[in-house]
Symmetry: C2
Subunit: 293 residues, 2 copies
Amino acid sequence: MNEKEALKWLATRMPVGDDCYVMDWGESHLLLTTDMLHQTTDFPPGTTGYTTGWRSVAVSLSDIAAMGGEPKALVIAYGNSQFDLNSLEKFIEGAEAVCDKYGTRIVGGDLDSHEELTVVTSALGEVKIPATRKGAQPGELVAVTGDLGRTAAALDLFEKGRDEKANELFQFTPRVEQGKKLASLASSMMDISDGLARSLHQLAEVNDVGFRVTADKIPYAPLLDELTGSEEEKEKLGLFTGEDYELLFTAPEKHEFDLAKYGSTVIGKVTEEGVDIVRGREVSPLEDEGYVH
Amino acid sequence: MNEKEALKWLATRMPVGDDCYVMDWGESHLLLTTDMLHQTTDFPPGTTGYTTGWRSVAVSLSDIAAMGGEPKALVIAYGNSQFDLNSLEKFIEGAEAVCDKYGTRIVGGDLDSHEELTVVTSALGEVKIPATRKGAQPGELVAVTGDLGRTAAALDLFEKGRDEKANELFQFTPRVEQGKKLASLASSMMDISDGLARSLHQLAEVNDVGFRVTADKIPYAPLLDELTGSEEEKEKLGLFTGEDYELLFTAPEKHEFDLAKYGSTVIGKVTEEGVDIVRGREVSPLEDEGYVH
């Protein structure tokens, strides 16, 4: 059983469909989420302690953002083979920096001796009316925040030894601010953790709909032009490599103007079925392939 | 810098003094805690998937219990080299069994390919008036729930290949029920994660007090008599080996009767300074030694 199959099995036993768990809490809702990151799959050689801390926290904030929530507090479990003050301090600095930016804080944690650097962040959030993955209707718009391919570009730069620029790109912005605004407009929303292609398929499946996106409307990170030689290569990095943590959402057409105002780009439409991409006059299926952790 | 020093340093930057973080939330308080467990240090050969799941959840429930809280929801990050349905299913069964027992549930999680089995549970709890580590006064009683040395006994049994009994002992009872009742009587409370000796020293330091405990009042797990050859050996396992997750607390003398009613044993008194143990007529210092993860 691989990770994907295991997740499918878990979904039969617990409510794991959305980016966070939503709990009724008086007149509001609490959100709870957890994410595990570790050296071999998430932090390539060259990743600084600061970036490690930033990214560890930001992935959980992104889950809160995907529900339109306000982050309230985070706890971090940090396992490493040694606790030298320098790398731990840098890690905490990076983690606190992204918390500060969104008015939240790290309130506790656990330290553990662990052969491989392993970080698990868990976040508590609050939201009046949560945005969920379910609700997309054929005819609506589908849109994304920011631009895609930054993580793919960073991975490429790490390989080339351009660590400074790579670290900068790796410190992504969790879309907490946009998430809160978009929650009232979006009919369905999620964050893109495994690449746009896979996320579109996931959203299609949950909503029993399809998508038709237009290739030249998809916003790519400007750096992808410099790093890739062809449009095909660029698409590969921008569509199928994940971990960009932008928001993917659907919304009724009447909100088109507001979406642009909130830094989002409409990339296509919700259809009855199938996930297709339009390149010029050619329509072809967009494969359900993505980043495997 | 070792784990203990790193924790000390962290305490200067974030509120990590108690078993959970306490957050004002309307007329109530939310509790948040996280714990990392992994193969090499926490799950000896012979530990079943069921026990692994049980223990992973129970450590976080114990943190909630130590504040007198009611567990509300848990998220689990589970990393393993493979996700065979059998071991994952057993893990979830064990995790759900202990949740069921305390009226809470696992509401989400993260699965990750990881070379070493690594589990991080994070729990959300609620409490009207939290019990904290601070508040002990000289002259008060010091007491523990349950009995000590079960984990030490289990580790010994695992080594001897008596896995069935070892697994049974390893599935400890998080003291959620007692914690709720004791919270209104206790002046300070914590769970014993690194052995009674270390926990007494921690509580002494936080409260700027001392303790004098009486050796023959300390409740040991009955099995320790069978597994050890001398009183000294028994004390070593019962006082200095940790991970029993019983509650250690102080309370005014007038509550003595109620403490017994709630399954607790008074083991001594709060003093002005020093952590001592009385054996017959002899008083000696109880060393600040404990289980190192």
